[in-house]
């Protein structure tokens, strides 16, 4: 079987298209590269949506934490402590065991039956956990940056007659993002790496549709040889991490475009400042 045929059969296997059965004997390098690459679809799906939605949630949380309302502040603090103080792995298990307790027949709301089973699937349940998790970590970063917005910037905004929403959108928010961006880049990379945990925690890989590490561990288990499959997965992750750093670097340059010399390359310090 040629390698092109393998790619056609297994290239989209992780989302259920192509060959139904995974290869069982005579594993070729091409099969391993193809299937592990196919699993990256899930890693990218989780990372992109968790980061997109988590970003806005985190901004809200950071504002609630910095705000004057004691109820909102307390709630934001509690949320951040809960998700930053406990392991993501346990959060996955906890969320899954809570979601399976929902009634299978659905919940009745105003005569409508809302289905619940989709929540126990990885694409929804695990994404929910990842969104909340990254929101908590990013909120901590954004809050720190919000507190570091220079006093003079806000005075200048006041002098221009800006207030409330306008002042936030035009002055505070861009500065907050600019200051938070290096740390936020680290968080994005960490979240991307954390997506590999999904199918090793409680969430089952429905019809063996898993992420790249799921397939890598499948091959390592079947061939009893960890020296091929895991380096392939590692190689994919290195390339994508570099791409992510590049992408965040472009945003960083845009955020700092009014400050000559400030938009130097982000120094990536993995996970150390979570």
């Amino acid at each position: 079987m040629s390698c092109l045929q393998t790619i056609a059969d297994y290239g989209l296997r992780s989302i259920g298209l192509g060959e139904r059965l995974l290869p069982r004997t005579d594993f070729t390098l091409c099969q391993q590269v193809t299937l592990i690459g196919s699993g990256l679809i899930w890693n990218l799906y989780f990372a992109v949506f968790a980061l997109l939605i988590g970003f806005f949630l985190a901004t809200g949380l950071a504002l609630a934490r910095a705000g004057r309302n004691p109820v909102l502040r307390g709630a934001a603090n509690g949320f951040i402590f809960l998700f930053r103080g406990s392991p993501l792995f346990i959060q996955f298990f906890l969320a899954y065991s809570a979601l399976v307790l929902l009634p299978r027949s659905g919940i009745e709301v105003f005569g409508l039956t809302l289905p619940t089973t989709w929540l126990t699937r990885a694409w929804a349940g695990a994404l929910l956990v990842l969104i909340l998790n990254t929101a908590a970590y990013s909120a901590e970063i954004f809050h720190g940056a919000l507190m570091a917005v220079p006093r003079g910037d806000i005075d200048a905004a006041d002098a221009y007659g800006m207030s409330g929403w306008t002042r936030f959108r035009r002055v505070m928010w861009p500065t907050m993002l600019r200051l938070a961006w290096p740390a936020y880049t680290n968080e994005a990379i960490f979240l991307f790496h954390a997506t590999t945990l999904v199918f090793f925690s409680a969430f089952p890989a429905f019809q063996q549709r898993g992420d790249s590490l799921y397939y890598a561990s499948y091959f390592a288990g079947q061939t009893f040889n960890p020296f091929v499959a895991y380096p392939i997965a590692a190689g994919y992750f290195i390339v994508l991490t570099l791409a992510l750093i590049g992408l965040m670097g472009i945003v960083n340059r845009r955020l700092n475009r009014h400050l000559p010399g400030a938009a130097d390359r982000i120094r990536y310090r993995p996970q150390l400042f979570r």
């Binding site: 406990s86 392991p87 790496h193 090793f200 590490l213 390592a220 895991y230 590692a234 992750f237």
Partner: protein, 293 residues
Amino acid sequence: MFSYCADPSLLQGFQWMSCYLTSGTHLLFYASFGMVLLLLAVTAPIALAFGYGGAMACRSPIGPLRWVGKTYTGMVRGVPDIVFFLFVPIALDQGLEWLRHQALCDSDAPVRQGNDFVVCAAAKLPLSDSPAWVHDTYALILAVIAFATVFGAFAANVLYGAMQAVPREQLETAEAYGMSARQVTRRVLVPQMWIYALPGLSNLWLILIKATPLLFLLGIEDIVYWARELGGAKTSAFSYPHPDWRLYYFLVILVFYLLMTWISERVLGRLTARLSAGQATLAGEAQRKAATA
């Protein structure tokens, strides 16, 4: 545990609960919390030693040693740590068995035959006739090495940064006093780097705490394993039948980790204050001002 626990099917309410929570498997569940603490206590110093070695290798004037150090500290940047947790124990196990195969077996057969990894009985690790606790301990040691490898690489990043942060003038002064490179390192560089390393190491400690449930991935009977075992729905065939209680077990684990984090943050805060005393940093400056005021 208690005398009235002899026949669980007759028990009600509080008595049932007290017997249920002190059953043999529950005692193993409680003991596995101790194992998490043990893992932390063993792994942290080893990881720190790996990190120190890595950071020193990065600063080495010898080219190849420096490249090894740079590769080691760089490898955790692009690759998820879970890959290492899955890879290191099995790779190490096979590597050791291969070495023993070369030394102890007199067959010329290759160790990789198709999809199997075959070594002779004498080369097995641990030997197949050794008791169960040897197998458990061996698995735990491999897990500790996997954790120490990953966190050692993180720690090397932190310590390398801290060594670079020690003011250059301090080292030059020491050199001017005629100290050798070794003396400069031991008497000036290492004592001063800790305050610069502390924020990074504190963070690393918190990340290490939160990585401990990954023991479950390595097939070790840890708290996650027991929570799944004990919490799953039990039919009346069991002594203590109950519906799906996994949620409550994982809530207990969650509270355990929140407590660990909370206590650690308190302790590390105090330690930072202690180490800042008399240092040429902003925190040290603030302490001096507070003392004179």
